[in-house]
Structure formats: structure tokens, C-alpha cells
Subunit: 402 residues, 2 copies
């Protein structure tokens, strides 16, 4: 299958591109290296020493014999994106090419506006490009479980049947996102649903949980393929962060009570979910939603698991409860459905088995590269600024976010 | 009360600014004349000969003794907007300053992206400006009944109590908007709800129905105050359009079966609803939603009422059923609640009483100004383009949209 991976140089995108290439698909990456640029802006670095994309792709070809094509450009540039889609004629487009950090979107007004315009316009451009140049192409779009928020009822997969005043209807599940980033994904979801209806596009919106780990079968074939492992406050996901904190003896940064419950998945399942979605396309006119996670935990449970696993490795791990820098329920009901990908054949990896191999040992392996100044949260939801103090952008995170 | 009216040179905004000024409030208009620019772009003109804003305000002062302040600029320019809010310290901001036409947003990709970026960024800027410079200010934001779409259950005012799998919660009412414009309002609603929660802003989101009429008490004080009356396909609302069509003997342009049912209100009720919202502010942290309309009709019912009223004036009115250029249900259940503004004291004008005086007679009065080439629909939801043929923007509507 011809598959374009937009954002294929990022954390989930890179692992996905390799997996799809390894499983026999013809893969092209579209990327503008924005994710590497944000590292420079924030003065942060991935724990793992990632290589330039050109080198990654050259070695991938040498090691596997498979070519991954590369289109360098920005999806918010319609002429670029349209020419890529026209040239590739993809059967599926996997769209990771968005700003995906909630704290980044909450730094200040510029970052909030950037996140929403970047994500919404990129996705609108993609919808128009598909409609015009590859109308039968299946859009596989990364959404987030964070679109739903934490309602006091079960979370369904995208739609819910409502009984109301003696009538009933199946309607889009109500959204209560918790950051300007999560809001941008909600905006995307509505836009995608609309274009499926009016233009007959086919789309799968994957509401992904919190991804952890860095090890996939393909990324371990050669050191050149090593994937990102972000542990800074802005781009690091919670489990990756806790493992790094454990590795350097930093108390785990639990926000508030830690009763915040979320869906989680191993990055090995991310790549498999994407493959499953591609192999089982939505119908024309269908906007299908899958909840893409395998287990749900509270943040405190995660911290306790890391503490226990650390102990097995001889690490003494403390748990700290910080004042929650976000505005969110610290204790709440949470029961999110996630059966559709399982029904299509997903065989989950479970955290209890991955924690040591794929997480803690990686953190220990690269312990010398850990910059502990990146650990403490500095972006506060209640105090999103209009402007950063000295400059608007492109200043070191550690200087400006205090 | 100090009230800023953003978009105060437009159709609803102008009528509102005058009404608030006449009822004793200290009013400032913020506008960039985008609405007049779109007339130039489309080669369309309001039926009524509106005057430049500077003249309108000069004569308003001469006639009433009241000064309406004017700030000329674009709400997507944060520095401009922030300085206006800082200077005005408004107690309420009424936000009409958005691109408000569904067909305009469906012309091509540029117009779709413009509509969403313009509306979303303008509203984000306003939220940040209020938070920083007038945190106690009440945001009165114009949404649209079109955010809800046409679900098969009753439409509530913004929120709905859902019983699901033995639990219940009150959640935002699910949205199913029908154009890139309506989508932009849904994006706004989510953004506003979020900032009320995290920053404690106070907001009233007014989901307005289709406004008709041009006559308000204030606009009739002097010819200089005459309000817009749009009848072109892009900016004309359906009832205004039908009255103009009747006045020139053009068959009424009912799209499809005409069973599309919507909420409607007289522009005299629009201005009163805004005043009621300002006088009864939301609490800090509250994002309140009112459905702002007074009666619901199907398009075919509207056409039949115009036909009957036309007969009383000696006009022979035919009804044509055109292929629907939109993608929408042509017959559907529709029962939308709208009691909250009535509970706060709204006394509605009803269409049956306004149709002759405020609509048909205005259309007849200005019959010589009607350009019949603007009547037929040309923007088709199924065929939104990537680009207009010869140029991207700023070309005559009648030339490019065929």
C-alpha cells in the first residue's frame, strides 16, 4: 500500500514510518523538522541521541533494502502539500504533522495561536488536497483521548447514542478538552467529520492515549534508528518522564493528588494500530473514530509502578505531589471504551511487561545525557501569558519560563 | 455600562451599537470595515444605501447627543485589540467581529481557511486581552444555532444531561455544524468554554438564529442610520432574500424540498437580546449559552408566508424548488429550546406582524437598487474549490463563481 506519513520525523511518526516500511508498504515521509526546531527553541533535547533524518533514511535503505521517500515542507503550505499528494497518490495518509504538546500550547498567546492555526490549517489543507488529488485516499488522523476530557459517564468511541425527551439519536461524543492543544484536535475532528459528509472523504480519527516507550522492533535494528525519548516538561509524556526521574534519583513529579486517570499505550502498539487502521480503511463518507489505548491508569498508579520497578533495579524512588500546574479534576470517574482496534486484531503490550526493558533501562542507559533542569513544570494553565518576557519565541526554555 | 461592540459596522453590530447607545450605555465600536470590503470583493451591495461609519456616528451624535467611540482595526491584530480593551476597560464586550457567511466560507480553500483563522484567532485574542486587561469584563459572543445542526432529539441551550450506562452527567451539547463558517463558531465555543474554566472569565455564548429585517427604533431616526439589508446569495439571509425576490417578481429560491427548519428572529429582538445579556452578566468562570431566536419555521413555510403577504400587496409570487447547493437534511425533526432569554424579559416580535412593514415594504421601497444577478446560488457545498479560477480573491463574484 502507498502510505504517506506526515510528521514522520517525530516520535510516533518515525516509529510508524519504519514499521510500515518493514511490513512491506511503500512509505513516504512528509516533514518540515518543526519538532527538532522546538527542541532548539526550548533548549531541550531528547534523551536518546537521534540522528538527522537524511542519515536515518540512508541507513534504513542500506540495512533493509527499503526506500522511504522524503518530502521536506510544511503542511500549512498548501502548494507544497498538494504537490506532494498529487505526486504520491497515496492510498492512505497518516497525519501526525501537528504541534502535539499541551504545555507548549499553554506557554503564551503566541504559542496558543500558533498551535491552533498550525494544526487546523494543516488539516484543512490536507482535506482539500485529498479531495482534489486523491479522493479515494484514506485519512488516518491522530486525535487524542484528551478531546473527551473526564466526563462522569463512560467514554465511547467517537459517537454516543443519546435518549432525550422520548427520542434518540447517535451524535458525536461531547468534547471537553483541557488545553489549547487539545482544543485544536477537537477543531480538527469537527472539520474532518464535516468533509467526510459533504465530500465523501474517508477518515479514521485515532483518539490516542498517552504513548510510552521508545523501543520498537525496527528502531532497534541499528543505532541510527533510535527514536526520540522526551522527558522535558513540555514534550515529555508522563511515563517517560517518571522513568528518567527515577534514573537520576529525582522524586517523581505527580501533579496534585494524582487521581487523574488516562488511557496509555506502548509505542509498539501505536505503530500496530496505525497499520491496522490503514489495512482496514473507512468507507467513503465515513468518519470513524477509534480510541487508541490499551490500559488506563491514574498518574499515582503509574508513579507507584515506576517506584516498584525501580526498586527491582536498586533505585530508591520517591514520589512528590506538586501543586497541579494544570486545571483538571484530580479525582474523577474514568471508563473509556477501546474495543474497536482490538476487534481488528490489535494484540496489546502491557505496561507491567514493558516497564523495565523498554523504559527504565533506556533511561538508565542514557542517564549521563539527562538535564535535570528540564524536569520541573513551569508552564501553568492559570497563568498563560500574553507574551514571554524578553522575546516572543526562540529563547531558551530554562531562561524564560520561570 | 461601558460596552465595546466589536464588528459594530456590520448588520447586527450597527443595530446593536445604536440600541445600546440609545438606552444609556457608553458604547465604543471596534471595526476594520471587513464587511464593506467583502461587498467589493463579491461585487454585491446592500439593498439599502448605507453611509460611511464616520458619518453615521457624526449624525448620531448630532441627533441624539450621544457619542459612540470608534476604534478602527482588526481583532486578529493582538496589539491593536489589547490596546483598545486596555483603554476602554469595558464592562461588557459584544463580539460580532467575525466572518459570518456560510457560503462565503465554502467558496474555496482560501475562504475556508480565512474564515476559520480569522474567527478563531480574533476570539482567542479577545479572550487573552480580556484576561489581561479587563478580567471582570463579560464576553457576549455571537454564536449560531447552526452549531447544533439538526439532531433527531430536542436541542437544548448549550448543555445536555445525558443518562448513559447507569450514570449521568451534564455535558456540552454535541455539535454538528454544516459549513466551514459554522465550524469556526463551534471552535470558538470550545475555546471560550475552556478559558472560562481555566481563567475564570465570564461569557455568554448567544447561539443566534437567522436574523431578518432592517428596521429598529434607532435606525429609523434618520436616513443616515439605515442598516444593511443583504439579499445576495453569500451574505443575504433567507427571509431578506425572499422579500427582495418577491419585490422584483423573481421566483423564491427554496433549496430542495424546503423542509429545512431553523430558528428565526427579528433584528429588533437581536438588539434586545444583546442588551438583556449585558444587563444580566454571567458569573466568573461561567460559560452560559442562550439560544437566541423567537420562532422556528421551515424554509417552505417562510416562502409561503412571503407569497401570501406579497399577494396582499398585489405581488404575484412564485416558489421555485432548486437543487439544494448545500449538504443538509431537507426534512428533519427540529425542536430547539429558547426559553432563557424569554425568562430574562425578552418580548419577541413575531414574523407575522413584521413581514409587511419591516421586510416587504423595505424591499419595494428600494426595488430600483436590486441587482437580480446576485440572487441565484452559485456556491455549492459539494464543489468547494481549491482556488478560484483566475485569481484567488478580490474578483467580482458574478464573474468567478459560475
Amino acid at each position: 500500500m502507498r502510505i504517506a506519513v506526515l510528521g514522520g520525523d517525530g516520535y510516533c511518526g518515525w516509529a510508524t514510518a519504519l514499521h510500515l516500511s518493514a511490513t512491506g508498504h511503500s512509505v513516504a515521509i512528509v516533514d518540515n523538522f518543526a519538532r527538532r526546531q522546538w527542541d532548539h527553541e526550548l533548549g531541550a533535547e531528547t534523551l536518546t541521541p537521534i540522528r538527522p533524518l537524511a542519515e536515518r533514511l540512508r541507513v534504513w535503505r542500506a540495512v533493509t533494502g527499503n526506500t522511504i521517500e522524503l518530502f521536506v515542507g510544511d503542511v500549512t503550505d498548501f502548494d507544497f502539500l498538494a504537490s506532494a499528494i498529487r505526486e504520491l497518490e497515496p492510498e492512505a495518509v497518516v497525519h501526525f504533522a501537528e504541534q502535539r504538546s499541551a504545555p507548549y500550547s499553554m506557554i503564551d498567546r503566541n504559542h496558543a495561536v500558533f498551535t491552533q492555526v498550525n494544526n487546523v490549517v494543516g488539516t484543512l489543507n490536507l482535506l482539500f488536497a485529498i479531495r482534489e488529488f486523491a479522493p479515494d485516499c484514506h485519512l488516518v488522523k491522530l486525535g487524542t483521548m484528551g478531546e473527551y476530557g473526564t466526563p462522569n459517564i463512560d467514554i465511547e468511541e467517537g459517537y454516543i447514542k443519546i435518549q432525550h425527551n422520548g427520542r434518540s439519536d447517535v451524535v458525536p461524543y461531547p468534547k471537553q478538552p483541557g488545553s489549547f492543544y487539545h482544543l485544536s484536535k477537537v477543531h480538527d475532528s469537527h472539520n474532518i467529520m464535516f468533509t467526510c459528509k459533504v465530500w465523501g472523504l474517508r477518515a479514521t480519527d485515532l483518539n490516542q492515549g498517552i504513548v510510552y516507550g521508545t523501543v520498537t522492533d525496527e528502531a532497534t535494528l541499528d543505532d541510527t534508528f533510535v527514536n526520540r525519548f522526551d522527558y522535558d516538561e513540555i514534550f515529555g509524556t508522563v511515563l517517560n518522564r517518571f522513568c528518567v526521574q527515577a534514573a537520576v534519583g529525582h522524586p517523581l513529579t505527580v501533579y496534585g493528588k494524582g487521581g487523574q486517570t488516562r488511557g496509555f499505550l506502548d509505542i509498539r502498539d501505536t505503530v500496530r494500530c496505525i497499520e491496522i487502521a490503514c489495512l482496514n480503511p473507512a468507507d467513503r463518507g465515513e468518519c470513524r473514530v477509534f480510541n487508541q489505548f490499551t490500559e488506563q491508569f491514574s498518574i499515582l498508579e503509574i508513579a507507584q509502578m515506576v517506584k516498584k520497578a525501580g526498586k527491582e533495579l536498586g533505585l530508591s524512588v520517591e514520589i512528590n505531589h506538586l501543586a497541579d500546574p494544570r486545571v483538571e479534576a484530580e479525582e474523577h470517574y474514568y471508563n473509556a471504551k477501546h474495543s474497536k482496534l482490538l476487534d481488528l486484531g490489535l494484540e496489546p503490550h502491557f505496561l507491567s511487561h514493558s516497564l523495565l526493558d523498554s523504559l527504565l533501562n533506556i533511561a538508565l542507559k542514557y542517564r549521563d545525557r539527562i538535564d535535570t533542569s528540564l524536569i520541573q513544570p513551569r508552564v501553568n494553565w492559570r497563568r498563560t501569558r500574553n507574551k514571554l518576557r524578553s522575546q516572543e519565541r526562540a529563547t531558551q526554555y530554562s531562561d524564560i519560563l520561570r
